[in-house]
Amino acid sequence: MNDALATDNRLAVLDHSRLQAKSGKPGAERGRVSVRDVDIVFETATGSHVAVQNASLTVRPGEFICLLGPSGCGKSTLMNTIAGFVKPSQGEVKVDGKAVTEPGPDRGMVFQQHSLFPWKTVKENVAFGPLMSGVGSQEANSVARTFLSLVGLAAFENAYPNTLSGGMQQRVGIARALANYPSVLLMDEPFGALDAQTRIMMQENLLDIWREFRNTVVFVTHDIDEAVFLSDRQPGADHCGYRCEPAPAQRAVPADQPGVYGAQAPVPGPDSPGNPQCFQTAEQNGVNP
């Protein structure tokens, strides 16, 4: 009873007007990501290297989708394009109708590890985004405290990141990304470096937070279990399917399908069913209910 009251108070300080419209009002929706026919080619000393070819993807506002694929298949590159760190060689990336040209606070980013500023305390890390957006330091600090409570680290606000465990550091990372009230949360294998137990705990925490925020989440992982667990838990993922990208003819699901997306490693070759880098559709795997 007391507990429920306390949690309520904790979330009352969240700026609900800046959260996704939980009532489902279409006008207030934000976080639509649209990737159209994107090629990403890196020029290296040994020649050009195709990282992503002909990728198309639409993420609806409030959706939680996973980009799934083996290491080196270009899923992180694609996410970095949405984040604005990498420019596509071909095609276009839009967030809420606006073409992405550079990183911005509307797209919060959670990295794999070691992305907290080690010289800033936990609170200063989370307050950094609000501070950069121009609010005063007092308000930035109060926003930081709100989000630290949300991830259960209020007692550690004055600790430096190197005194925290890996799981705690990633929670700070999530709080820091959320403190800007981003319309899209981009997560690049955020739990990849954690032990199995902590990882499961973090996945559940993330889904709880996402249910509160209802912002769009694009989650990169190479862990099939993780992708299935995370996207299974969200209502929009009923038709979740893995998808091979190489040729349009082989797409298992339409381009605007929500759910789990597989990407293929940029290795030329036939996509035989035995090719481990090419995932079958979820229906074939029997993953889907």
Binding site: A6, G152, N162, T163, N180, N205, D208
Partner: protein, 312 residues
Amino acid sequence: MDSKSNAAIRTAEPPANATDIAETDEQTAKGSALLTPKTGSSTEAPSRLSGTWLKTMGPRYLVRITALIVAVILWELASQNGFNVYINFDNIPAPSIVGAALVTELTGSEFYLHILHSLERVAIAYVIAVVLGVLLGVAMGRSRWAEDIIMPYIELLRPIPAVAWIPLAILMLPTEQSSIIFITFLGALFPVILNTVHGVEQTSDVLVRAARSLGASRAAILWHVVLPGAMPSIVAGLAIGMGVAWFSLLAGEIISGQYGIGYYTWNSYTLIQYPQIIIGMLTIGGLGTLCTLLVRKGCNPLLKWQAKGGHS
């Protein structure tokens, strides 16, 4: 609805991970997240800390002091007995004689004037070197153009010893004082620049990306990410620079002038006052060590995030 889903957030963590000590800590803290953090442990922390410091470092400092005393005793014996096996102690004044001379110097006022003049020169030269060195170092670390333009000068000028600058310093600069400060400044400048460049170039790419995705401008990235990240390296450069400044000061003060601990040492040599030479040498060594220690201590607050251990 709200309270239900929020309760889920708090109970989402299974107690299964009790084996992980850090995460267990986290859980207990989470339980009391809304209570005021306990203050008891933080107040008793410092006294406990100094206690353990005395226990671990006390014996080590005892050994260090003993090592110095042993050297002084050996020196005294060598001087009194006229030790002369390749190294000749015949004309070296014994520590007892140097000590007596030091007492005479300390009772007079001139010795302090020498120290004061040297301190003033080092202070001016060092401040200029630090400001210019950090600015140039950051510029070089951030811009390839700046690095390509400035680096050849540094590579070429850095190996030139301070003494070699004396003629040019006298020819180029208007006063003796400015020549001495220039030579001292040059000594401190290079370590500061090179360490700053090194630190800035080590900037973590992930942290810059994180800052950019949080909406930081270029200036904000420089101030919040690049400079703090380079700080350990910069501080090392500042400490080395202070040592080299004292090192170069002696060369500068050979130009003469009337005061200065380097001048005092050099002048004692021309006047064949052997105890005074040793007093001058040890004073330079002592002041250099002291100033370097002050620089390190002074910069500690900038690096407190590196300390491992307790929260807050």
